[in-house]
Symmetry: C2
Subunit: 165 residues, 2 copies
Amino acid sequence: MMTQTEMTKPANKVKASTPSEREVRTERIFNAPRERVWKAFTDPKLLAQWWGRGNKLVIERMELVRGGHWRFVEHAPEGVHGFEGRYREVTPPERIVQSFEWDGMPGYVCIETMTLEDLGDGRTRVVSTTLFHTKEERDGMLNSGMTEGLEQGYAVLDRLLETMA
Amino acid sequence: MMTQTEMTKPANKVKASTPSEREVRTERIFNAPRERVWKAFTDPKLLAQWWGRGNKLVIERMELVRGGHWRFVEHAPEGVHGFEGRYREVTPPERIVQSFEWDGMPGYVCIETMTLEDLGDGRTRVVSTTLFHTKEERDGMLNSGMTEGLEQGYAVLDRLLETMA
């Protein structure tokens, strides 16, 4: 049962935009301080709990340093999906730049730049900008339900951040 | 000592151009039929003999199918350089599309499309087009001596193709 506060609190939703024809930008506010959000993005045990949108996520590799590789496998009801990439920059607690590739389209590689902004009131804004090689790849990602998938994962993250308080 | 034929035969040189601000295109003719050139590009034992420009090359991974990974380590006098990527398309004997990343700039990923054109006279033209995420990355690659490195490797390949005849 929701409390009065929860019922009136505006939901934090993903805002998506396309700053250029090869980019997608998303932003989302979390009701948690930046250090806690950073931890949920960088501790493999925590990341595994929300990145897969509630599905089982196997973190095969997560070498969170410049040049390190990452590989996550999501076991969703509709199938198993592998994702991988490499870290270009890791700057705690505010910025990660990494390549991103889905096994279903191997050799199509986009670059994600994620920043965590401390809003100064105990909340954090996560801004993610993804750059593709072509507009067609960008549009394909948008049409694949990227924003909806992100929304699902972030909803699970909301609950995880509460339990970390 | 060169024979008269070798002295008068025009040298095959790399022609490089920039078809767009995020691309580099190179082409090079080889005095060998396409099947032989394809073999020299796809048989790890042969590739290891020329890709490193005469330096020792360790092929750590070369899964030459769509979705497969590759990783080569060149042991040059000035240092050890790792390169890696993933195959987007492998179409014998004419086309390979793959991602390409140098360990020195992790997370900067370009896409190479290589085609082998049968010139019908026992020669083969290899055309390689590389697409970068930004113009700056493209210019950085050009300024790193990309064409010269390619020329060195192809010169070794010329000699290998002769021995394969």
